[in-house]
Amino acid sequence: MEVCCAACSLLTSKQWRTLSHLTSKKLLRNVPFPTSLDKLLDSGLYTGEVTELSGGPGSGKSQVCFGVAVHVSHQLKQRVIYIDTTGGLTASRLLEMLQSETSDRDEQMEALQRIHVFRLFDAYSLRDRLSTLRSGGLLQASGGGSVKAVIVDSVSAVISPLLGGKQNEGMSLMIQAALALKTMAKDFGVAVLVTNHVTRGGRGEVQPGLGASWSHIPRSRILLERTDRAPSGCSSTLRSATLIKSSRQPCLIKEELDLQWWSRSERRSSGKRKRDEADS
């Protein structure tokens, strides 16, 4: 990340430190993304905030969520709460990603044990589960360990069937769930990552779903898209990530992301690296 001058950055960090000293919480602890998404998010996912990933089907949202879960549980040795509403969580894929990080079987099993999964398929269960987690259930759910990341994949799958039409519960459920996520992030100092689907706007442009009310909830929003135009067939594993909302970076900056980064142990001999392997 570029800063205008060293003096500016010093001033900013001093202000942050004073603020954190007053509130006795560290605001700048973050969960680094091990890929080029780090550059978009200004060095990673921030604790105390909600970050949103949106994209069409097959754009890689779940893969990024898996990558974050694996990174937090293996590199940072912290627990992860993963709420799966789409049924897409495949433990064998988590294991594959871990195998590209380490070849020690015990470490892989330990890392898998630090990821706690809840599988819920309707909005009421989601709201209830988030409320329970917020009011102290976080420690209980993780078996006593400290939780660093809460991932919800995806929020839109359970909430958007209730929005629109003649129903009026959908909006209130969405806001209750959102409130639980935000207070959980702030109170427990966890990084919250949610995924969302995309819809087409008035002029045909792609935008995240769930409407304008939801758009205020996440602090940072990233849109993932396939880079090639062909809608089917053997496409590449490259995706383009665009930052559409952020309080730290200028918006609409793009980065390319290679989903095969998480299978890099199989590719080490091929020499076709596209991104630098970021050390965490």
């Binding site: 097959g58 789409t86 799958a157 689907h197 779903g209 809608p231 067939g233 496409s235």
Partner: protein, 307 residues
């Protein structure tokens, strides 16, 4: 019997109701509990997958269609979606001694494309294949019970004429699955047909489809069954060029965990895996023979051991 407040607070409503009615709560899945990824891994390994009888497709899917997940098969008319569904309905019944799942299947037909003669042909080919493969005593014994009658009696066929009937059947399905615990596969062929006719309000259609998707996903997870849904294709104009894309909109694309698109490339039929949690995008060639869904350029009868 006196209960203290903390012990009441820990219980979920379904635990109270199952205690009152005397029925055991479903042992496989409790929505309130967390599982670790390690336990999920062990469960996935126990579940297994359904072979498609095309070794290239099985290899690309890391063993076959996963049980406990939703798979979508899209394709233009006549490309072989129903054939693949019929093949899977027979393959799920392969006995355990040959490495199969020995399970039953519910086939929901909305288009009227379930043709009994094709099922008979596919089943006959599978029985012939395994009777040639049987080597030891156990396998030969199971071949006594693995025959045409048993295969046909393990397929439960439901005919739905519109989307209301389809939704009603899906609502009644959990009770059916509780009574028939051997069911491991649900086929819906196709989901696009009832939703594309008589539904003019597109936003209502999207909401209904999303609700259906969540119902189906929760059933797949709770009862540990594989769900296969077929979809049609539609044309989308983009940059003044037209492309064939799966029907029912982009939001429906999020419903399935794995998406396979069957298409023609010249004179060759190709199955492209465009969305999958554990396999990168690949395309494999296949063909539909009189015996069913097979690899392209494969001879009619093979003697390779599939175990």
């Amino acid at each position: 019997m006196f209960l203290t407040l903390p012990s009441i607070l820990e219980k979920w409503p379904c635990q109270w109701s199952s205690g009152a009615s005397g029925r055991r709560a479903s042992p496989s899945f409790n929505a309130g509990e967390a599982v670790t990824a390690l336990e999920l891994l062990q469960r996935e390994r126990e579940c297994g997958s359904i072979t498609t009888f095309s070794s290239q497709l099985d290899h690309a899917l890391k063993g076959g269609l996963p049980v406990g997940k939703v798979t979508e098969i899209c394709g233009a008319p006549g490309v072989g979606k129903t054939h693949l569904c019929l093949q899977l309905s027979v393959d799920i019944q392969i006995p355990r001694s040959f490495g199969g799942l020995e399970a039953q299947v519910i086939f929901m037909d909305t288009e009227g494309s379930f043709v009994l003669q094709r099922v008979v042909d596919i089943a006959a080919a599978v029985v012939r294949h395994f009777s040639l493969l049987a080597v030891d005593g156990e396998q030969k014994d199971t071949m006594q019970t693995f025959n045409m009658e048993s295969i046909l009696s393990n397929i439960f066929l439901v005919r739905c004429h519109d989307y209301v009937e389809l939704q009603a059947e899906l609502l009644l399905l959990p009770d059916f699955l509780r009574d028939k615990p051997r069911v491991r596969l649900l086929v819906i062929d196709s989901v696009a047909f009832p939703f594309r006719q008589h539904l003019d309000d597109l936003s209502q259609r999207t909401r209904l489809l999303q609700g259906l998707a969540q119902q189906v996903i929760s059933m797949a997870t709770r009862h540990n069954i594989a769900v296969v849904i077929t979809n049609q294709m539609t044309t989308r104009l983009q940059d003044s060029q037209s492309h064939l894309v799966p029907a029912l909109g982009e939001i429906w694309g999020h419903a399935s965990t794995t998406r396979i698109i069957l298409q023609w490339e010249g004179s060759q039929q190709v199955a492209a895996i465009v969305k999958s949690p554990c396999c990168i995008d690949t395309a494999i060639q296949y063909q539909i023979t009189s015996e069913g869904f097979r690899d392209a350029n494969q001879p009619e009868i093979t003697l390779t051991n599939r175990r």
